[in-house]
Every structure is written in C-alpha cells, then in structure tokens.
Amino acid sequence: MSCRKDLAGQLAAAHERLGGARGKQYWRSLDELAETPAFMALVHNEFPSQASIWPDTLSRRKFLSLMAASLALGGIGGCSVKPAPTVNIVPYVKPPREIEPGEPLFFATSLTHAGSAVGVLVESHMGRPTKIEGNPDHPASRGATDVFGQAAILSLYDPDRSQTVAHLGQTRTWEDAEAALREALARQRDKRGRGLRILSETVVSPTLAAQRDELLAAFPDAHWHVYEPVNRDSMYTASDWAFGRQVDTHYDFTQADVVLALDADFMMSLPGHLRYVDDFLSRRRLRQHGGNAAKATMNRLYAVEPGVSCTGAKADHRLALRAGQIESFARAVATACGIESGGSVIGGSAAGNEKWLEAVAADLQAHRGRSLVLAGDRQPPAVHLLAHAINDRLGNVGKTVHYTDAWDAGRTERTASLKELAEALDRGDVELLVILGGNPVYNAPVDLALTEKMQKVPLRVHFGPYDDETARQCHWHLPEAHFLEAWSDARAYDGTQSIVQPLIEPLYQGRSAHELLTLLAGAEPTPGYETVRRRWRREATTEQAADFEAFWESVLHDGLLADSAQPRRSVTLADNWQRHLGAGKTTAEPAATELELVFEPDPTIYDGSYANNGWLQECPKPLTKLTWDNAAIMSPSTAEQLGLAHGGYAHGGEHGGYHMPVVELRLNSRSVRAPVWIMPGHAERSITVHLGHGRQQAGRVGGADGHTVGFNAYLLRTSEQPWFAPGLELVPTGETYLLAGTQQHHLMENRELVRSATLGEFRDHPDFAAEPERKQREEQTQRGSLAIATLYEGFNYEAPKHKWGMAIDLSACIGCNACVVACQAENNIPVVGKEQVAAGREMHWIRIDRYSTGTAEKPEEFYFQPVPCMHCENAPCEYVCPVEATVHSSEGLNDMVYNRCVGTRFCSNNCPYKVRRFNFFHYADYHTPTLRLQYNPDVTVRSRGVMEKCSYCVQRIRHASINADTEGRPIADGEILTACQAACPATAISFGDINDKASQVHAWKGQPLNYSLLADVNTLPRTTYLAAVRNPNGKLSEE
C-alpha cells in the first residue's frame, strides 16, 4: 500500500546514505554509528539525569529520525545530565499518506505456522511494526494468537537473520547468485531437469503452489520434495486407508458433548487449534449462564496421553498411558463401541484401566452424534483409522467431524518424500539441489544420513531466513525475507485463502520464495507483489474481476478472502478398512518393563525454527515451566525407580535454578545426554523429550559457535519411529546440569489459591468460591473479632470516571502462555537469559501458575492460574515505598513510576502475589539497533535498578481515553484490550471499567464464581478470578 511504498523509498534512501553499502557492510556501518560517543556515553551512563531510565529512545520523535532515513541514533543526547539536553528531530521530506505522526496503524496479514496460516493484525508505529494481534475476522484466529504469533515480531528484528547472499561463507550479491543459478539451470533445461531436485517445507501459499507447477512443467523430470519434521503423515495414511483418498479432518467442538482425545493436543498443536479452543470452551463457559447455575451445562473431555499436555491438563478425566499403549486402548474403545477391531482388551501395563475404558465407551455411546474422538498426529495411522471408524459408528461424521479434500493432496507424505530424495542423492543423480526453507540437515530423520548424501550434489542452494546448519552444508545461501517484509498468500487450516502483505521494506537483503521461483523458472526476477497479484487476478471470479482493484483492496483490508474455505466432502468408510489393522501396520504394545521414548515438538520453540527467538526460549513450557532447555521428562515414580528422584517437584520446590542429574539416552545404538526433569502425571516408564533444541547454527540466542541450548533430540529420531520408540536405555552419568524453571512446586499446600468444583457441586452451591471468606466473616462476627476494625476509612472509587478492573476465568485458561509473550511484546519486557531465570529473576509481568491437586506422585487435576498485578486497592507495595514510586491513580491503577524508583525492592518483598519484577542488572537491550526498533514507543524502556510490573497496559488505557475525550464520547466497553486479553485464545481474561454497570468485567465480577486471590490478606485486589469448574463423569469420580 502506498504508505509502505513511501516508507520503502525512505528506507531505500537510508541504504543510499550508508554509502550504498548493504548487508554486512551496512551492519558494520550501523555498528560504527552505534559507537558514536553520545551513544556510548548513554549506554554506559551510570549517572544519568532524572532517573537512570533511558528516555525511551524509540518514542515517537525518536522514530521520526529513523523513518527519515537516518540510522544515526538521533535523540540519544536526551539523557546527558546537564546542561539541558539537545535532541535531534527530523521530519519527512515528503509526508507519506495514511501516516499520522504518533498514531499507530493496523494492517491485516497472515503468518504461517506448522503448515497453515493464521490471520493477524500488525500494529505499526509510523511504518515500524511493533506488535502482532489476532485477526478477529480470520477463521483460524478469531482475534486470538499463540506464542508463535506473538513472538514473530521479534524474529523480524532478529539481528542474526542472514543479511546477505553467501557463497561458501563469502558475501556475494544476488546478481552473482542469479548468474550461478541461471548457468546451472540452463544445463538442467536440456535434460528436462533430470538432475534438479527441490526440497521445501509444506507449501502453504497457493501462489507458490502455482509457481511450483509451472516450474515442474518447465522441468518435467525434476522433483519437488516436501519435508517437515513435525508432519501429519499418519493422519493422511489413515485417511487413505479409511476413505481411499487424502482428506483433512476438521472437528466441530461446538456440537460435541463428549470428546475423547487420543494423544491429541488439539488446544496447542493441531492446525486451527486457536479456533478449536474457542469452540471447545464455548460449551464450558459457566459465566455465560449468569446466576442461573441450575441450568448450567458443560461438555466433557477425556484425554489419553503419555506426557501432560495442555489438553490433558484441561481434561475432565485424564489417563496417562504410554504412547505405545494408546493404540490398544483405541482398539478397546472401538470394540466397546461394537466395532470389530481385533484386540478387545487393553493389554499389558494399561490393565487396571478397564473401569475408565467402560465409562468412556458408555459416555461416547450415550452421546451418538454429539461425541467426538480425535487421534493425535503423534499416533500411528491405525489409531487415526480407529478414530475414523468410531466417529463413523457413533454417527458423528457430518455433525462433529467434517472432511475436506486435503489441501495440496498427493504431496502430503513428508517422510516418504524425503526418503525418495535421500535415495536419489545416494544414487548421485542429483546435480542441483535447491532447499527452499526448512532445515533438513538439522531435523531430518537421523537414519537417512541426509547430510552425508547431500555431499554428492555438485551444486547445493539453500534459501532460508537464517544461515543455519543446512546453509552451512550448501554452496549458496540465499536470505529469505521475513513474512512482514514480503508479499505472499497462504491457506488457513480450513483452506481459507489469506493474504500476506509486508509492513516494512526488507531490513536486510531477504527476498521471498516467489521471487526466487520466478528466477528458477528462468523468468526475469519479478517482485513478489506482482506474482501474487497476478495469480489472484487469474483466480478471481468474474464479479471479483469486474472491479479487481476494489476486490484487491478489500482482500488487503480484511487479510483474507471470505468464504474461501475448502468445501466439505462426504466420505464413506471403506468396507475393508479393518485389514489395515493387521500385523505390520500396527505398533506392538511395549513390554511393561521397557522404557519408551516419546518425541514432542517443543511447546515454545516448536521444531527448532524458533530457536533464536529469545521470547520463546524464555517462555516457560506450559506444564514443566522449564525455560531455555529441554530435558528427559518423566514421572516421579519412574524417576524413583531409576534412582533419579529429587524432592523439588513436591515440597519446597523453588522457582529458579535446579541442578538435575544428567542421563544418557540410548536408542538403537544412538545416544544423547540429557538432564532429567520430573513431571507429575507423566505416564510411567515413558520419557518425553522436546525436539528443536541443541541447534548448532541458530544464532546468538538459540545456539552458535559451540554453545547450544539444550540437547538435540533429533539425533535419536528415525524415519521408522518418528514419534515414539520402545527399548530406550537410560544410563545415569552422575553429572548434574542446571535447569531453569519458573515454578517447581506443584501443590497448593491447602491454600485456596485456585478454587474449583465439579459441575454438580456448582449446581448445588453456585457460590462455593466465596465460601471461605463467608465462613471467616461469620467466625469474626461470632468472636466479635476486631479483624475488620481499622483506624482508616477507605477510598471512594465510584466518584472518578473509571474504576479499572480485571477478571480471569480459570475454567477457561488453557495455560498456553500467549498472554505472557503478548505482554512481553507490548511492554518492552527484556529477555534475561537462562542464568538470570535460574537465579529467580525472570521479568515476565504476567505468569501462569500451574498447580495440581492430589499428591505430587499421583496428581488428579491440573489448574492454570494467570497472575498479573492485582492492582490491590489496599496495595501492600505502595505504603512501603519511601519515594512514592508506586502509588494509586484515582482510577484505581497501581501506578509504577520507573523514573522515581530508587530500587529499595521493599514493594516486591511486600507483594503477596510476587508479581513485581526488578532490573537486577541492565537487562534492556540498548545496543542492538534492530531490536530497539521493536520497542513499543508508548512504554518506557526500564533500566537497571528499577522495579517494574503489570500496568494493566496503562498506555492503551491512556490512548483510548484521550481518543474518547477528544471525540467527546465515553470509552466504549471493550475499546481497551490489555495485551494479554487480546491474545488469549480462550477469552479467559476480561478487562474494563467496573463502574460501567454494562461492562463485561462488571458482569464477570458479578458471577457467583468470582473470588479474590488471598482475600484474607485484605488487599482488595482489582484482579479477581472466576473459580474453575470441571465436569467429571460421575461413574469415574466416585472412587
């Protein structure tokens, strides 16, 4: 769009100014700029002016200078002590349209994760993208985002992204690369591309798919392989077996009363999970029943899984089975549902769960057509097949389960495709290998020995965002542009066509895949914009084409093409489907004694592609609360048996560092060393490891030149057993390794922190949550105790216009951490690194506490409790501050004034919720120019020795109230969304004006479920919680 074009011009000019230098040089010159005396003085200024907070150099005025094409860090003088500072201020030469200085703009685009697109809105401050929100109109988002979406903005500014074309490590230009490629392609064209192989990740972009087909048309004998380490092979195999065609399975949780998840973490990992969470919870939100508890209904979720996933943690009943046992469990369910599936009992170590099984089967059958069985991508095809069969038998198909033609059908078998390539490489008949994205050298199945085989290829080209392990194995490395820098399009999980539009000119030399493909196709390199637009024009229906410009603008505005989802297709179960359950096609039940190794994509850095993202590395894993590492995760009793136990998980568990024993994991003659982590609730004799760690060439954050983060679990992963494997040997090494976790203690020590009840109990006593306080008050009045007496009269918050408050629904929270990262992005929260986290100094303003009931050895239920600042009306932090650095605003905000803080830390000591965070060191990054571009100009960047904490996103409150005021209208409810609230896929957070009787937060706080955390400390928190309610099966719960 025009404004961006103008900015493009500006930045182009910037590059000009830097002596036409780009890439590495460009960076050198930036560093030089960063070494200007003013800057150094500032960075090392130990005695700055009013406060040692660096005046946020990325504020509006600061950014002007940047946009105006000067990267000389103007305005830095703003912090010299005396005399009064002089600051540069730099206007545009020609004002770009649409940009209103100081006011943020939002653009709709989409980001691709795990093979499908999620629509997002990107906040741009004068051409500088700073924050990603979900796109409410997008079916895969509905306004929500996950940690990956929130953290994507950081990777845009990642200084470690590859900045230049490189040949054998030497800096080159695109022209050189083009020349080399043309020459090689010319040779291939003669032999119809026999020697040409292309390896890409899942092709999500229709335009790219079209370009692919054109390319293959031009080179008939060339091959295009697709590989991703985290793939859905077994699902597609199963759909082949079941229906004789490749279909995508979609679930409609809004229609399901009973859900059985077979190792399927649909809340966190399935494509479309954001949507699924919303749908699933739409059947559980008791708050929508208002006071009428008697009528309250909920769906019921059964989960069977080896490790503890968010889905399992939210389940009403969770059964911990080893991954290898789940198939036989599925068979048993099928049999119980009257399906001839062979093997009607749960064998081996799963014995003793018959009661559970019967209850589930009964419940499923009692809800024919309103039940749902899902199989996880980690499970073998047989389990998916059984799931299809059960859904079919229960008449769920077409009601809770829908099928669509697989997007890009026929190209879905990832591992097989890579195998082919490996063989071709081995045969040596590959002459030109182009790797489009992905990092196969790092994450390909180890048994394929891809790296060695690659060496036989005379010309290897890698196109990707990072100069990573794969790039190091290729002759040419071509930098790929970030999705916020390039034009493209993508398909959502349901096939909805979404647009990907850039918000900023590429910071480095990156180009988009589209541009590269035009090059491969031999055409003159055309801008991605043209390619994408051309295809959309081609695909446009007649009425769209009639006024294409308008159509195009609307697509850009919405970020998607409405109703472009794949059409549903009715499929019938092949009558001979059972034969696929025969021997060979199924996994053998692991022997009771042997250990099982289970692979899992990392909850925060996924398959390793996010390894260089500090926010994600430091984001605690939802259940283990580990940061900066992966580990061999096992249950307490398994650890006990292996002699690896430590008391940390149960009593006196510390948040911070823990020295854990290191073991060697041996699986068919391969081995890695891994620290142990103990996770109550994990299946016995089963050990989960997260993929994606141990990167060698990720970057300064994720591991490079010798230092790695965690261990590389891919080294044990084969194409035969991609997800779990029995026969694991575990050898203690006697060493220990420091792991940094933000929470270890699992139990609540019978303090009513998370208050919970079953649906039944809730129906009988809707106000159970307030019970403890009521009892206390009664006792006090009986004893005539003075506990309520005070010398002081309270403040009146009804008088001021607003009374800000927050309510958090614990029934809804799935513990996904989206709020944590969103807050980090919004509020310029620094990354402190593993050592500091281990020292108990992480900086997250909102954290998600994870508790379990029962015993640590045998936990029953898991609960998540997001804890931001409570903004207490009787704030204990305030009256102990000697300098009024934290006081109450008249609207009830617990203000934190960084520039007044002298750092006594008394407030944090006296905070019962421990939500305050302290800059023990100089955490904020003032050195890396690109990272400073990411900072939110409306939030002060805190410096050393200053306390900070959740502010209820006061910058958003101020912005909204000023806008409302200037427009002479009241602030509408929902006009202010805090960052955490906006990101939450579960809509578990509500924020607003409690004085506004019509506001959502007022309604929530009116719920009988509403209670205050640590109410007996009489802090009168403004953040309250809605108690968690579960819907267990009576048959199972009575024992």
Binding site: E749, V880, C881, V883, G903, G945
Partner: protein, 463 residues
C-alpha cells in the same frame, strides 16, 4: 589456687567498681599517657593495616556493585533483601548497647558504667556508621538516596512518610547524631586534660580545639552535668525507638514471618543482647593491651555477662512466642513458614538450629560465676552470640521471604561471594575506626573516674 588479695576483698564487700589504689594524678597519668605516648605499638599497626586492607577490598566491592548492579548479590524475586539488610540490622543492633550503657545506666546511677561507657559509646558510633552504609549500597544506585530526604524538589514530591524506610532514615541519622553529641560532650573535660598534658604543639592545638576552651569551672560543671543528664534522658527512649523503627521495616509488612507485633521489643532485646556481646568482646582485649585491668575490673565483665544472660532470655522469649503464635494462630501460611524453618533441611533449618544454639543454649554457661569471671570463656560466648544474632536477622529476612503466600513463587536465597565480601568489608571499617579511637582519644573517662575516688566529694579528710 590462692585467691588474690583483690578477690578476697571483693568477697568481703561485694563487687567494687572503684579503681583500687588510684588517686587523681595516677588516673590522669595512666589514661592520658595511653594517648600521649609518642611511639605506637606494632600490634596496633598490624591490626590497623588489616582493617585498612578490608576497607580497600570493601571499596572495590562497592565500585563493582555500582558498575554492575545489585544483581551481583544472591537476591532474587521473592527474596529481594538479604545480606545487606541483615548486616544493617545487625550493626544497628550492636550500636544499641553503647548508648544504653551510657544513658540508661547514667539515669540509673549505676557506678559500673563509668569505666566502660567511653568504649561502648565509641563502639556505638562506629557500629551505626557501618549500619548506615548498608541501606545506601543496597540500593545499587546510592546516588538517588537523597530522594528519601524531604526537600523542595522540582517534582514537588516528598518522601512517602508512611514507609518504614523513611522512618529508618530519620531514626538512624538522629541516633547517630545524638550518640555523637553524647560521646563528644562526655569527652570534652578529658580533652581539656589532654590539652593541658600534651607536650607536642600539634597535640595542644588539636586537643585545644576539641576541648572548646573547657576550664573546669564549677559554674560550667553545673550546667554540664545538667545537660549530660538531659541528653541521657533523651537518648534512652531514642535507643528503644530506633530498633523498634528498624523492626517495623518488617513488622509493617504483610509477609508471614515479618508481620508480627512482637517484633519491636523482640528486636530491641536482641539489639542489647548483641550489643553487650560486642562490648565484652572489645573490653577483654583492651584490658590486656592497655593494661587497664584495674580500671575495667573483672567485676565489670561479670555484671555485663549477667546482662547478657538476661537479654538472652528476652530474646529466647521472642523466639518462643514467634513459634507459639505461628502454631496456635491457626494462620496456615504462617504455620507452614515456621514449620519449614524447623524442618526445611534444604532451606533454613540448619540456620534455625544454629541460632538456637548460639543465642539460647550457649549463653546458659553464664550461670556459672567461674565462667563469668573467665575472660577466655566470656570472649568465646560473646563471639558466639554475635554470630548467632547475625544469623537470626538473616533467618528472619531470608526465610520469611522465601516461603510466602504463593507456592509458585517460592525461592530460596543463595549468597554469592559478593554478599560475603560486602559484610566482611564493613567489619574492616569498624576495626579501623575503633583502633583510631583507642589511639587518639581517652578510652576511659578520666573526669568520671576521678569523681569516683574516695574523698572525691569532700569528707574523708586526712587520707
């Protein structure tokens, strides 16, 4: 062994704090010569350079602190305070004995204060000096400390007077000033003596300046005594208030293990406890090296030991009441904390039991007269008590914070080398300062001793 004549005499007429076998001249001679003698004892030099070495190290630590930030210490969230505040409370506590001895015992007309009050007051001054440093450096950015002082700034902001930290600023600075006045005022007549006996020009000028032209006029003595008494009267409640204020750094909070009404008396008792331990620990070597056993007699040590024992019980009562309250209070969080203190092996239980040994059990040996009159034993006991009281403050601060309301944020404190060096450095400051005092000022009040001699106030003619 055969009793010395002195012992026999004491057995007959009970403890006697008057300097035996002295007259005006000899007292003057003995004490002032300690200051006025030309040569300096090598032992003094050795100790002094040790102190300065520690100060040097302390300086380096502080500079590193200012450059890097408070992160160099082991503190974290939840334990935002630890060693520095522990040291602060410990030093302040030690400071209390001095003023108490001089002021409170003055009001009580206790004779035995006379020989030791000067030493005790000096100790107070230096202890409070050391204490005062810690709140400053624990900020990590001490150059903002002045924001805690009320002055008309351009932000129109004032200190937040509800915060116990601001109370500290006023309490500690007042305490320091008043102690200093008291100490100096008590010293003026002795300074006059030194002025008159000094042989070097420099000595005469310096002591002359400090003596303010004191000439022992009866009219001056008249007002002087009144003023001294009044200062004592003001200082006594001050002592009590200061540690009560310090204790409210914790008592006004809502943290389990901090939020306790017993704290003020409990802290004051502990303060006197550690203070007397320090006085004893200082008196014993001084008796030796300065050969003033006849002025600071064994009876002085004996009576101080008795006070040590008494305050030991006050302190123990504090421990007891804390535990009982936590058990019978029925406060879940509180109860957990105290139980955890006793059994949390991975955390603070070892410290707890060490405290019980040092502060409750060890002093019990003072029941025995033989122990009270044995310098070695006394020295050992008082050092144990000093260590114990440091650990007590450490325990109160660290363990309470590490086990507060939300189990999710529990975390223990692990000291770093910098924590320890900071503490040791402050010891250096104290040692050096105290040695300077011993060398250049009269360590025992001559004028007051004179007043205690037989016939000092007439009668007993013809001795």
């Amino acid at each position: 062994m055969a009793k010395t004549l002195e012992d026999a005499h004491r057995d007959l007429i009970g403890p006697d704090y008057t300097p035996v076998g002295h007259d005006f001249a000899s007292i003057t001679q003995q004490i002032s010569s300690l200051v006025l003698r030309r040569h300096t004892h090598p032992g003094w030099l050795a100790l002094f350079s040790l102190g300065n070495g520690l100060i040097l190290m302390f300086g380096c630590v502080v500079i590193y602190l200012l450059v890097r930030g408070v992160g160099i210490w082991g503190i974290n969230i939840p334990v935002g305070w630890c060693f520095t505040i522990t040291d602060f409370v410990w030093w302040i506590g030690i400071g209390h004995a001095g003023t108490l001895i001089s002021a409170f015992l003055l009001l009580m007309h206790q004779k035995w204060r006379t020989s030791i009050n000067r030493i005790a007051e000096a100790m107070t001054i230096f202890a409070v000096m050391c204490a005062g440093m810690f709140p400053l450096i624990h900020l990590g950015r001490p150059w903002y400390f002045y924001w805690l002082l009320p002055y008309p700034n351009t932000m129109r902001l004032w200190p937040q007077f509800r915060s116990a930290l601001v109370w500290d600023v006023f309490a500690v600075s007042t305490y320091f000033t008043v102690s200093l006045l008291f100490w100096y005022m008590g010293m003026v007549p002795d300074l006059a003596t030194l002025r008159d006996r000094a042989t070097s020009k420099l000595g005469r000028v310096v002591y002359g300046m400090l003596a303010l032209g004191w000439r022992n006029s009866a009219r001056h003595w008249h007002r002087y005594e009144m003023a001294y008494l009044l200062l004592g009267g003001l200082a006594t409640p001050l002592v009590v208030s200061v540690h009560s204020v310090v204790s409210s750094d914790f008592a006004i909070s809502v943290m389990p293990g901090w939020h306790e009404t017993v704290f003020p008396p409990y802290f004051v008792a502990g303060a006197i406890f550690s203070g007397f331990a320090m006085v004893i620990a200082l008196c014993i070597p001084i008796r030796h090296f300065y050969k003033v056993k006849d002025l600071i007699t064994i009876d002085h040590l004996d009576v101080m030991a008795k006070i040590l024992l008494a305050t030991c019980f006050l302190t123990s009562y504090g421990y007891l009441s804390e535990q009982t309250m936590s058990w019978f209070g029925g406060e879940n969080v509180e109860g957990f904390l105290y139980f955890n203190r006793l059994i949390g092996v991975a955390q603070y239980a070892p410290v707890t039991w060490a405290i019980v040994f040092c502060n409750v059990l060890a002093p019990q040996v003072l029941w025995f007269r033989r122990v009270r009159r044995s310098e070695v034993m006394l020295l050992i006991v008082s050092v144990i008590v000093l260590a114990g009281m440091w650990m007590e403050r450490y325990m109160i601060i660290a363990s309470s914070l590490s086990r507060d309301y939300l189990p999710s944020s529990w975390g223990i404190f692990r000291p770093t080398i910098w924590d320890i060096l900071t503490y040791i450095g402050s010891l250096g400051v104290f040692i050096a300062a105290f040695l300077l005092f011993c060398r250049f000022l009269p360590i025992i009040s001559m004028s007051e001793l004179r007043a205690m001699l037989p016939g000092a106030h007439g009668r007993e003619e013809g001795t």
